[in-house]
């Protein structure tokens, strides 16, 4: 086991060849698998914000849940600070790992139990992990101030339906941070909020990350916020990671054909847009059940070669530190 790579201060999380396959059953027999995540490998450096970007159905949500330990991996390794989650018993994951990782979900209203007050919601993780009573109260007040819900006294006894989406999402972030985790996974944390609120929340999130030396995995379909908010971007397509690189670089000079097409299609507010017809990729993403051999993109790729139809490319590292899953860079 490459303990050195993962034990070093550099990478808090190392994912190796992770696969999450869901069996498709007809009556009692299995006729195939939905390959939601199909051979994903990456490192997450400590203290960085890594964005996982992709369209719906690409597998990013499943990947996030697997890293959280909420769904079991079919094969591969998820190594967190040197410990392989796939080999740990469930009780250890529940008792230890959940205190190390925090989750922020997309839907602010759905993520909060409607019958609990803000205080109750924030205290739950602490109760489960045995934080003593006085400490709990103290932390609740602290964290509420930190996420901008001041004065805390105004919020502790409110119920979720009394707060706005933006406020609730702050509570969600507070809840994710209350156990002082090392890694936070944010799954589309701002997609359901208004445009102006998004930036506010993400900025606050970034400040908290600096303060607590967190590592963040930011799952989204929105490139623009990914660029402004994260250090590194990973693009996912059809259950695989097709490009990894620093945020600005990937967007300014995308290397993978899919990334290129995606970025070219996303608009900035520009009055000239209405005069241009955008170039898009034909067709649709492939089925995740028993996909065809070769590169997942080849039926839609403008640069397709013969090799692409036969062999699946690996993640190739280019000279400037970018990793691209494409034969063009072999």
């Amino acid at each position: 086991m490459e303990r050195s790579e993962s034990m070093s201060q550099e990478n808090i999380l190392v994912v190796k060849d992770l696969r999450v396959w869901h069996p498709v059953r007809k009556l009692l027999s299995i006729i195939g698998y939905v390959r939601a995540v199909d051979g994903v490998s990456f490192n997450v450096p400590r203290g960085r914000i890594v964005a996982i970007v992709g369209e719906s159905g690409c597998g990013k949500t499943t990947l996030a849940r697997a890293v959280m330990g909420l769904i079991p991996a079919t094969s591969g390794n998820i190594i967190f600070e040197g410990r392989d989650l796939t080999k740990l018993p469930r009780t250890v994951i529940r008792k230890w790992y959940t205190g190390q990782v925090g989750l922020v979900q997309q839907d602010p209203y759905g993520a909060m139990p409607p019958f609990m007050t803000v205080k109750g919601i924030l205290e739950e993780p602490m109760r489960i992990h045995g934080v003593p009573k006085e400490e709990r109260s103290k932390r609740v007040h602290e964290i509420l101030t930190e996420v901008g819900l001041t004065p805390p006294e105004d919020f502790v006894f409110k119920y979720p339906h009394m707060l706005s989406g933006g406020q609730l999402q702050r509570v969600a972030i507070a809840r994710a941070l209350i156990l002082r985790p090392k890694l936070v996974i944010a799954d589309e944390p701002v997609s359901m909020l208004d445009a102006s609120v998004r930036i506010e929340i993400l900025t606050m999130f970034r400040e908290l990350k600096e303060k607590y030396n967190l590592t963040v995995m930011y799952i989204t379909h929105d490139f623009a916020t990914a660029k402004h908010f994260s250090d590194e971007i990973m693009i996912m397509y059809a259950g695989q990671i097709v490009e990894i690189g620093d945020a600005r670089g990937v967007i300014r000079k995308p290397k993978h054909p899919y990334t290129e097409a995606l970025i070219s299609v996303l608009p900035d507010p520009d009055p000239q847009n209405r005069f241009t017809i955008k170039k898009t990729l034909p067709g649709e993403p492939p089925s995740l059940i028993n996909p065809p051999p070769g590169c997942r993109l080849w039926p839609r790729c403008p640069y397709v070669m013969d090799k692409c139809k036969r062999e699946e490319p690996s993640l190739i590292e280019t000279s400037d530190g970018r990793k691209v899953k494409c034969w063009l860079y072999a």
Binding site: R94, K95, T98, G99, G102, L103, A111, E124, I128
Partner: protein
């Protein structure tokens, strides 16, 4: 959470239906308290199951307040004429403990001495007078003669009606012992009193009449003139004299006569075929119904909830197995099963309760609740809870159950009358606790004794109205709670 509950309960008070329901419920609770205070539980049961305790009560008596509507005057309870405390000249009607008692002062003594042959025969006469001012005939009656003597005693009992007609009740020799005679008669038989009456009429009016169709007690109180001339049955009002004479050679012979004349009305709810006060049955039926209904409803709902939560959360094998058990119980017919169990094993109320709960828990409620829990399981906050390390037990208890409770509470309340009715229905079918007094048992008794065809409506109406009111009370409370706890679901 409890703060919120109080708020919601206060909102419920805005609904008139809720207040009405609570009022009726409080009435029943008051009734229960009264029952326990007046007839403590064990005492009530023994009393109810002991026919001898009710001998002095009229049978099939209607509730007293019915005279408000009919305007008739009717005898309440029973007239008890007891010569043991007889007075020769003065008798007083005293009402003691809901019984009309005619008390006569001075002891019955031997008064006259006569000689017959070479034996000295002593005789004594007692007279009891009473007034009968009622528009209805008595419903029945009986008399007892206790003779205590070393020799034979001749007892002669005569009733003198206000119009002077004398009807002989008794005339014969008796030795020490008790003589029991009833003033009612079995159909097809003729009693001595009826024959005596016919004879008297023949002597006085010279008319032959058919007495076979009229009960002895009626003949004793009937207006003879109206009867003979116009064939009208009407009781004769006025002062009646009951004259008892005994003849004996023994100077110390005593004979005591006790006459019981049953009236036609009694109490708040009337009486049944044994003369039992139905109000006691109705009063005691209330706490039993509430206790049974509440226990059955709460227990079955709680158990269903726990099973549904486990089934929905753990899924796969556990879920599948429970679903199959559920389906099996949904198919097994409940009524025949419980009747069979009662027949083979004999069931008291507790046994019945457990079987009913068993079938309720594994019934269709389980499927619906499981569906509710499945829906809750998919909520993001459940996933969040797993993400911060909540155990399955914690999630079920603290995150899933509280979501379901506001739906459950109104269900529990509205289900109570179903269980109460179920117990009553089972009782009518014969499946009930043999000792306890329940409304169902009263109805069963009434049904088996053809109460409706015999015209004893009060016997059925009493428990029926009680059941009806209790059902309404819980239904009103339950529906209001439903609107208060689940506003979005119910307000159209």
């Amino acid at each position: 959470m409890s703060q919120r509950t109080l708020l919601l309960l206060r909102r419920a008070l805005h609904y008139k239906s809720f207040i009405l329901g609570v009022a009726i419920l409080l009435f029943f609770i008051g009734l229960s308290v009264y029952a326990e205070v007046t007839w403590p539980f064990e005492e009530a049961i023994t009393l109810w199951n002991n026919p001898e305790a009710w001998l002095e009560y009229p049978k099939f008596a209607k509730p007293e307040w019915i005279t408000v509507f009919t305007g008739k005057r009717e005898l309440r309870g029973s007239l008890i004429l007891d010569s043991r405390v007889a007075n020769l000249t003065e008798c007083v009607v005293e009402v003691r403990e809901n019984k009309s008692l005619i008390m006569c002062k001075d002891l019955y003594k031997m008064r006259e001495i006569r000689s017959i042959g070479n034996q000295q025969i002593l005789s004594g006469i007692t007279e009891i007078t009473f007034n009968y001012e009622y528009d209805e005939f008595p419903s029945g009656g009986k008399y007892e003669v206790y003779v205590n003597s070393t020799e034979k005693v001749y007892v002669d009992l005569v009733l003198v009606k206000p119009n002077g007609l004398e009807v002989k009740l008794e005339g014969g020799f008796y030795t020490t012992g008790a003589i029991l005679r009833t003033l009612e008669v079995k159909p097809g038989e003729l009693s001595r009193i009826q024959l005596n009456y016919a004879e008297t009429i023949k002597k006085t009016y010279g008319v032959e009449i058919d007495v076979s169709k009229i009960e002895p007690v009626k003949l004793l109180f009937i207006d003879d003139k109206l009867f003979i001339e116009k064939n009208i049955y009407k009781p004769l009002n006025g002062t009646y004299r009951l004259i008892s004479s005994i003849y004996s050679a023994d100077i110390n012979a005593t004979a005591e006569v006790k006459v019981l004349i049953h009236g036609t009305i009694y109490g708040i709810a009337g009486t049944d075929r044994l003369g039992r006060d139905l109000f006691m049955a109705i009063a005691w039926g209330a706490p039993i119904a509430i206790a049974f209904g509440l226990t059955a409803s709460v227990l079955s709902t709680l158990l269903t909830m726990i099973l549904a939560a486990i089934s929905a959360w753990y899924g796969k094998i556990i879920d599948n197995t429970m679903a199959r058990i559920n389906e099996i119980f949904m198919i097994i017919p409940f009524l025949p099963t419980i009747i069979m169990l009662r027949l083979f094993y004999g069931l008291d109320l507790w046994g019945m309760l457990w079987i009913i709960i068993l079938f309720s828990v594994w019934g269709s409620g389980l499927k619906t609740m499981r569906a509710m829990f499945l829906q809750i399981r998919e909520m993001p906050y459940i996933e969040a809870a797993r993400a911060y390390g909540a155990s399955s037990a914690r999630i079920i208890a603290r995150y899933m159950v509280p979501r379901v409770v506001p739906v459950l509470i109104p269900n529990i309340v509205t289900a109570i009358p179903s269980f109460v009715f179920l117990e009553a229905a089972l009782a009518i079918l014969g499946v009930s606790d043999p000792r306890l007094i329940t409304w169902g048992k009263v109805l069963q008794d009434a049904y088996e004794n053809a109460a409706l065809t015999q015209g004893h409506y009060h016997w059925i109406l009493g428990p029926a109205i009680a059941l009806f009111l209790m059902a309404i009370a819980f239904a009103l409370i339950g529906f209001t709670l439903d609107r208060v706890f689940n506003p979005r679901l119910r307000e159209l």
